[in-house]
């Protein structure tokens, strides 16, 4: 059952992105930024977490989930260490994602060469 919910919600979030691309001609970079910011705001006001509880990876794998991680991290750090948490929480919570993206990208760049189009 959790696969069905993950599929439906994850697919649904991608459809929103697709409609934005087709209707507004937003580039993919702008879509990524928009979705992370949106996820962070939704996470901040507490409406994204219920979706995560419901759809699991269907809500955490799309980029709004990344934004939600930022919001969650920042709020946990504020709880723990006060206002300074607003500065430390975001990157702390997302550090694994950012670091692995950078490390794997670097390794891939060492191994692979650009493909002919």
């Amino acid at each position: 059952m959790d696969y069905l919910y993950a599929f439906l919600v994850g697919g649904g979030i991608c459809v929103i992105g697709q409609i934005l691309i087709d209707k507004t001609k937003l580039t993919s970079a702008r879509i990524l930024v928009l979705f992370v910011v949106l996820g962070c705001v939704l996470g901040g006001i507490g409406v994204y977490q219920p979706l995560v509880d419901f759809a699991g990876a269907g809500a955490t794998v799309p980029l709004p989930g990344f934004g939600n991680t930022l919001a969650k991290g920042v709020m946990e750090e504020v709880d723990k260490s006060g206002l300074i948490g607003a500065l430390t929480g975001g990157l702390k919570a997302s550090s694994a994602g950012i670091t692995s993206a950078l490390v794997f990208a670097f390794l891939a760049a060492l191994i692979f060469n650009p493909k002919e189009k």
């Binding site: 959790d2 696969y3 993950a6 599929f7 994850g10 697919g11 649904g12 991608c14 459809v15 992105g17 697709q18 409609i19 691309i21 993919s28 970079a29 879509i31 990524l32 930024v33 992370v36 910011v37 962070c40 705001v41 901040g44 699991g56 990876a57 269907g58 955490t60 794998v61 799309p62 989930g65 990344f66 934004g67 991680t69 930022l70 919001a71 920042v74 750090e77 504020v78 206002l83 948490g85 607003a86 500065l87 929480g89 975001g90 997302s94 694994a96 994602g97 950012i98 692995s100 993206a101 950078l102 794997f104 990208a105 670097f106 390794l107 891939a108 760049a109 692979f112 060469n113 650009p114």
Partner: protein, 148 residues
């Protein structure tokens, strides 16, 4: 002459009217299926790790990292680009799309050097994403501090 120009305009109007909706619908179906499948792969990894006894938090971190690794590898092999041509947002919106947008310029600009090529261009999409994501999170944190 004038007539043919008018006809051309008319024709283009007709094309404009006829194409977008069916286009968008087809694009959306593809995005839905591919995006959904990528999330199911994530769910599979999550379930597997949970069975191994990892905590909720660690499971999330490992799942993201594994997906990011798979996507980097597929990008290097030129497979993720092919998937992207088919799936559109279905391959952009998941975290694998973020990973692809980091790996792709890293490979592309390696020839311009490791510092000003690879090193700078690796952030061409990741930079704005991290900047605006972090900026938003700081605002969320400050507001949360004052209203909690």
């Amino acid at each position: 002459m004038e007539n043919s120009a008018k006809n051309k305009e008319l024709y283009q109007d007709m094309v404009k009217k006829a194409s977008p909706d069916s286009h968008i619908f087809k694009d959306c179906v593809k995005a839905f299926i591919v995006g959904g499948i990528i999330c199911c792969v994530g769910q599979f990894i999550t379930n597997y790790l949970k069975e191994l006894g990892l905590t909720q938090n660690d499971t999330g971190i490992y799942t993201s990292s594994v997906l990011i690794f798979i996507s980097s590898l597929m990008t290097g092999l030129g497979l993720y680009g092919k998937l992207g041509k088919f799936a559109g947002a279905g391959s952009i919106v998941p975290i694998t799309g973020f990973s692809n947008s980091v790996t792709s310029p890293a490979i592309e600009f390696k020839k311009e050097g490791f510092v000003t090529g690879l090193g700078a261009k690796i952030f061409i999409v990741a930079g704005p994403v991290i900047l605006y994501g972090v900026l938003t999170s700081v605002i969320v944190g400050i507001i949360y501090y004052f209203i909690k």
